[in-house]
């Protein structure tokens, strides 16, 4: 037995001389294997800026994959378009010992359109390898060379580019011919890492070695705020036919307005007349804007087409007016054009839109394209909060942006100078849900209830779409919302979507058999029938990352419960009140003079960012809420 061990070792070492031993996966540092489905052995990029409109990007990425899940870290692909060419691309696969098992040449790469869901057409394409692993671990060496005129697209760099993957060596180099074409580079999240910089007169090289894998944990901040990375931008650049030199938000705003927007605001006379006529009785700018916004919502829809400069420049307002559709850029610009006609100032604004992450445009790092994925419209107001319009939705109320773009820094393209502004925020108590109900508990344990639900803020955002659902879907919604009520029957419903106050009201009547369970002489039931919050954050054996509650809200419940005459009350849950730094919780159920029960509940969840040490406390808070929400009333036969 011992002998064969030696033999294996011996074989390995002989292989190592004849083969490319550097690609063997046997010698990877143990620390890098912990929690890693793959190890990036080398991730190297060299950006050669040859001229304002000529950039070559060479990269080499070597990844050892330990299992199926690790396959996604290979990242052997190259995107291209009419303005970005793939000059060279190649991949070689090695087995665990470093023996070459497959070579993939340019023609063997799969070449497909890179149209994402929701986009009708785009000229972006991608080449990628389609490789079926025949054993683990294996190593992929992937090299590519890309050339583009669009120097503005200079890539930023992630030293670590995912969870459950570690990195041996990551290097980013940029070569530039002169100071004018030297990119601006900012290091981010480097506190726990030692990023090394080697700076020469015509180049800069950043490197970081031995980065351990990070495990994803619920409620952790977005990876952009955790992973070590570089933000890179050109001050003097070329983009789709344009040359520009822009180093701050102010200039960038002016430039974008002048070159990308100004010429695209024309509208046909007929439309101008229509819109002028529509606003003629409106007095304030806000009223005019409301009418214009309503007109846009009634007359357009969202269709995305991305081609060449169209990736950043809106299609013209006249074109939107003809076809009555556009993407976020086109529809925002169209709304702006209409507002211009009626004399209301507005600004085209770039934002990073996401429902579950509030990501700011980095005020300290101006960049032409970066950091955003969406466009909204800003209407500045004196001495009042600005109005923000989401022009791609035909349904959301005027001035309401919801959790898609709220409370984050956006880049406002003002013709007098661009700037960074924070959008409207929907905080804790503004995200209100109020439930009032009359619940009748019947002798056989069934309930009948009439329920009134009012939602505001982000909770409104999660509800108002219901008015468009059909009865089956609405029933399905309530059945999912109240999984604790089996056999739910929706007797009738009426919704009131008050767009002006941004308030949604559900007025419904329900009944359900066997809600309460008789056990012997007793009948048990949970007075909190309509708003059980059972969420308890997952336990981590040792939490590594800080956490945050992204979105706070307030729920207030008040139910009057009548109980069957044959029963008397045996036991009621004790009233409870919890106040913690994460929020507040109050619940009580009291017998009233007329023999009914009154259940009252308040749950306030605060938004906030916390260190990992507090995670246990946060879990405890949610556990207590969950437990008390399940509390039961015991009735006994008289």
């Amino acid at each position: 037995m011992r002998f064969s061990c030696y033999l294996v070792l011996f074989l390995c070492s002989t292989f190592s001389f004849s083969q490319d031993f550097q690609y063997s996966s046997l010698l990877i540092n143990k620390e890098l294997k912990d929690n890693a489905n793959a190890v990036v052995r080398l991730d190297e990029m060299v950006v050669d800026i040859l001229a304002q409109d000529n950039m070559i990007i060479k990269s080499k990425r070597v990844v050892t994959v330990f299992n199926k899940k690790g396959g996604k870290h290979v990242n052997a692909y190259a995107g291209y378009s009419n303005s970005t060419k793939v000059k060279f691309i190649k991949a070689v696969i090695y087995d665990a010992l470093g023996n070459e098992i497959k070579k993939i040449k340019e023609k063997d790469f799969v070449d497909v359109s890179a149209v994402s869901g929701g986009t009708l057409y785009s000229d972006y394409r991608v080449k990628y390898i389609d490789y079926t692993p025949i054993g683990y671990p294996y190593t992929v060496v992937f090299e590519k060379e890309i050339q583009t005129k669009n120097t503005v697209t200079i890539p930023s760099w992630y030293f670590l580019d995912g969870y459950l993957v570690s990195v041996e060596k990551s290097i980013y180099t940029v070569n530039f011919p002169n100071e004018d074409l030297k990119p601006r580079i900012a290091k981010k999240n480097e506190e726990e890492y030692r990023v090394e910089l080697d700076e020469k007169s015509n180049s800069k090289t950043y490197s970081l070695n031995n980065i351990k894998a990070i495990k994803f944990e619920n409620h952790s901040p977005d990876f952009r705020y955790i992973f070590p990375r570089l933000q890179v931008a050109m001050t003097k650049f070329h983009y789709e036919g344009y040359n520009a030199t822009l180093s701050n938000w102010n200039e960038m705003g002016k430039w974008m307005y002048r070159n990308l927007i100004k010429e695209r605001l024309n509208l046909p006379e007929s439309t101008k007349t229509t819109i002028r006529r529509m606003v003629k009785d409106a007095i304030t700018d806000s009223e005019k804007a409301r009418i214009v916004y309503n007109y846009v919502q009634e007359n357009t829809r969202y269709i995305s087409v991305q081609e060449g400069i169209g990736g950043i420049q809106p299609i013209s307002a006249a074109e939107v007016d003809r076809v009555k559709y556009g993407d976020c850029k086109g529809l925002t610009n169209y709304t702006k054009a209409l507002l211009d006609v009626v004399g209301v100032k507005s600004n085209y604004s770039r934002v990073y839109a996401s429902r579950d992450k509030q990501i700011d445009v980095d005020e300290d790092f101006p960049s032409f394209l970066g950091q955003t994925n969406h466009v909204i419209l800003n209407i500045p107001r004196e001495n009042k909060e600005d109005i923000w319009l989401e022009c791609t939705s035909q349904k959301i109320p005027f001035g309401f942006v919801g959790d898609f773009t709220d409370n984050r820094n956006v880049f406002v393209v003002d013709k007098d100078g661009g700037r960074i502004i924070k959008t409207s925020a929907y905080l804790e108590k503004q995200n209100l849900q109020k439930i009032e109900a009359k619940i009748n508990l019947l002798l056989d344990g069934a309930i009948k209830a009439s329920v009134l639900i009012e939602t505001r803020g982000v909770q409104y955002d999660n509800r108002f779409y219901m008015e468009d659902l059909d009865r089956d879907k609405i029933l399905e919604y309530y059945q999912d919302t109240w999984p604790n009520i089996n056999n739910l029957v929706l007797e009738d419903y009426a919704f009131d979507n008050n767009k002006r106050e941004v308030k949604f009201i559900e007025d419904i009547n329900i009944n359900a058999k066997s809600y309460a369970r008789p056990s012997g002489e007793r009948m048990l039931f949970s007075p909190n029938a309509l708003n059980k919050n059972s969420y308890v954050p997952k336990r981590y054996r040792s939490r590594k990352l800080p956490f945050q509650v992204q979105r706070g809200y307030l729920d207030v419940d008040s139910y009057i419960i009548s109980i069957p005459e044959d029963y008397g009350i045996e036991a009621l849950p004790e009233p409870i009140e919890i106040v913690s730094e994460f929020g507040e919780y109050k619940a009580s159920v009291l017998e009233q003079e007329d023999g009914t029960l009154k259940y009252e509940r308040l749950f306030l969840l605060k938004s906030g960012a916390y260190p990992k040490e507090k995670y246990g406390e946060y879990r405890n808070f949610r556990k207590k809420v969950s437990k008390n929400d399940k509390a039961q009333v015991v009735l006994i036969k008289k």
Binding site: K69, V115, I134, G135, K215, E476, S519
Partner: protein
């Protein structure tokens, strides 16, 4: 009989009426624009007012026959949710030499502007052509000036040289269709079989009409010293067989839960080319019966032939079979060799891609590459092994003889008169357990020479999940104990598929979350990788608030966090079968020790419920013992697929289960 005649007469009248109302392209009425919703389905976001599909064959001298599919659709957009029907995408196939094309697109949007009808034309610049991959191009367009209440209308023709792959015409959309006319005109040289799919009823009317092809003949003539070229034409007459369908008020296809793929239930006419017989040439067979379909597949170089190559694995086989004597041992050895050696590239198909020899060397291939190697090797080992053609769940159920009905192949070995199915494309299934994707009613065993017979693929042994738990409850209502969970068959397979690559910590975090915040320690797992054996997990646990204390009483849910608290079936009615894929059994045995100073005041009663002819069975047994009480709960579903007729029974069955499992045991102080 009399009734039938009446029906037939009625039907004739009915169809005549519908033919009488010719819908002309471009003639959109104000009524259509004014209509606010479709009375028969007021919730529809959009409604197809009229649809016409005309399929015909056209002869082109340089190419031969091509298929022309003319499409004309008129759609009413009722609300903003219907805007998505304003975008149309046609996927066109391109082969090495020829490709499909879309021609003659005309499209308009109609709106009512006051009293006037406003007509907006789709411009060329509003159409897009996207080369999605090597084989497909997508032609897309989206209608201009779309509003709530708009009517859109478009027509175009798709030309296809690939007549043998003419496959199906869909008759049902996700939105209702008020009226549609489908006409398929096929020259006598082609014999297609048509089959109906889905739940809608309709009649296919057959008729004939004459057709002809004019050929241009070029002849060179030498007349003395003069040379001239003369053109002459000749005409070939033939018969065109027409089948047509007229349908009114076709309901939208609505989604339901526990259905494998909604497309299996979408109504359509399927076409399958059976044979061609051109003038002066002999019959070429494509398919007509299951036997001939399978024979055609078998004769394919990428199928039958592949089974005969043996040399490439000869040495490996000899090695694998060393010391194996029984048929079972041999089968297991060959299966696990191929299962571990070969790595599936996620591509389906019953014909090989690389070919078995090359695939074996590369250690990767499509389904056929892998499973045909398996069959061949099993045969070489002296076993009675055959390939089985299968249609995966996503491909639909093959009810009629068709080559396109199959897209997958597995192996079967017959030992002592019993069929054992094998599929080496998945890493986590044992012999006689096909991956869920292949569990689709029946397959077709192909024996040597291409003789075939149908075989049921539905598993009949139950997949088991059993949980044994001992728990003692403290005076504070907290729980502490030990548990042991055993999974077999598909439950074990699912466990291995989803958890094999997780670290233990990550898995436990997930498990704790599933069990409502149970805190787990001393975790052990057995047979994580031994595919033939059940997965057995055991652990100790702590759980806060395992029982609820109200005043001086304690309320215990006898199955704790395992109780089924929610009925999975909520809708009143159901049209489609309930598809669990395999039969299963859920078993719980829980022994509960109650805290000192408490006694059992009341307990739920035991129960024993059966539904249908043994479709499902639920036993709940509860009894006191010295230290507390013991509960046993068995729930079994004995069929993988349950017909929609049994839906109401099944829903009631689960209602009873939920009620029983959530009833409480009441403890009171002594």
């Amino acid at each position: 009989m009399n009734n039938f005649v009446k029906m037939a007469v009625l039907f004739c009248v009915f169809t005549q009426v519908s033919f009488a109302q010719e819908v002309k392209f471009g003639k959109v009425s104000k009524e259509e624009l004014k209509e606010e919703f479709y009375a028969k389905d007021s919730t529809a976001d959009a409604v197809v007012l009229f649809r016409k599909v005309n399929v015909s064959f056209k002869y082109i001298e340089s190419q031969g026959f091509i298929i022309e599919k003319g499409v004309h659709e008129r759609i009413k957009i009722n609300n903003k949710g219907g805007f998505k029907y304003g975008t149309v995408v046609e996927s066109l196939y391109q082969g090495a030499k020829s490709k499909e094309s879309l021609v003659g697109l005309k499209a308009y949007t109609y709106n009512l502007n006051g009293k006037e009808i406003e007509k907006t034309k789709l411009k060329k610049s509003d159409t897009f052509s996207e080369e999605s991959s090597k084989y497909y191009t997508k032609e897309k367009f989206t209608m201009p000036n779309l509003k709530e209440g708009s009517v859109i209308e478009y027509k175009y023709t798709v030309n296809s040289p690939f007549y043998s792959s003419f496959n199906e015409i869909i008759l049902q959309y996700d939105i209702p269709i008020v009226e549609q006319e489908i006409e398929v005109a096929i020259p006598e040289y082609f014999t297609f079989k048509n089959m109906t799919k889905g739940y809608l009823r309709y009649t296919i009317n057959e008729s004939r009409k004459p057709g002809n092809i004019t050929f241009t003949n070029k002849t060179r003539k030498v007349n003395g010293r003069m040379m001239s070229t003369e053109y002459s034409t000749s005409k070939l007459d033939y018969i065109i067989n027409i089948s047509s369908v007229v349908m009114k008020d076709v309901p939208a296809l609505k989604k339901e839960v526990y259905v494998n793929s909604m497309n299996n239930y979408r109504s359509a006419i399927k076409y399958e080319l059976q044979y061609t017989k051109f003038p002066n040439s002999s019959i070429e067979n494509y398919s007509s019966t299951w036997e001939s379909v399978v024979k055609k597949i078998y004769e394919n170089d990428e199928f039958g032939n592949q089974l005969d190559f043996k040399k490439y694995y000869k040495e490996d086989l000899a090695h694998i079979l060393l010391g194996k004597t029984s048929e079972n041992e041999k089968m297991n050895a060959v299966f696990s060799h191929i299962q571990s050696r070969m790595h599936w590239n996620d591509i389906f198909g019953y014909s090989t891609d690389e070919g078995v020899k090359k695939a074996y060397g590369l250690k990767t291939g499509n389904v056929a590459d892998i499973n045909l190697i398996l069959v061949s090797m099993l045969r070489a080992a002296g076993l009675n092994a055959n390939p089985v053609l299968v249609s995966t769940r996503s491909n639909g159920v093959p009810l009629f003889p068709t080559r396109y009905g199959f897209n997958y192949v597995v192996a079967v070995v017959k030992i002592d008169g019993k069929n054992i199915f094998l599929d080496a494309t998945s890493k986590y299934n044992k012999p006689n357990m096909l991956p869920v994707r292949a569990l689709n009613w029946a397959g077709r065993i192909v024996e040597k020479g291409g003789v075939s017979s149908s075989v049921s693929l539905l598993p009949d042994n139950k997949s088991l999940e059993s949980m044994m738990m001992e728990i003692s409850i403290s005076e504070e209502g907290n729980g502490k104990g030990k548990a042991r969970r055993t999974c077999t068959d598909y439950i074990a397979y699912n466990f291995r598929v989803s958890n094999s690559e997780l670290t233990e910590d990550t898995y436990l975090e997930k498990l704790e979350e599933t069990y409502n915040g149970l805190e787990i320690s001393e975790y052990q797992i057995k047979n994580k990788k031994e595919l033939g054996k059940p997965v057995i997990e055991s652990f100790s646990f702590n759980k806060e608030n395992a029982a609820e204390i109200i005043d001086d009483k304690m309320y215990v849910s006898p199955l704790f966090w395992f109780a089924q608290e929610e009925n999975p079936f909520k809708t009143e009615e159901r049209e489609y079968p309930i598809d669990y894929a395999y039969p299963w059994l859920d078993k719980y045995i829980v022994a509960i020790k109650i805290p000192d100073g408490y006694k059992i005041e009341s307990m739920p009663t035991s129960a024993n419920i059966t539904i249908g002819d043994g479709i499902g069975h639920f036993i709940f047994h509860i009894a006191k013992n010295e230290s507390g009480f013991q509960v046993k709960s068995d729930l079994s579903i004995n069929q993988g697929i349950i017909s929609s007729q049994d839906y109401k029974g099944l829903k009631e069955f689960f209602k009873a289960i939920v009620e029983k499992q959530t009833e409480k045991v009441v403890l009171s102080k002594i």
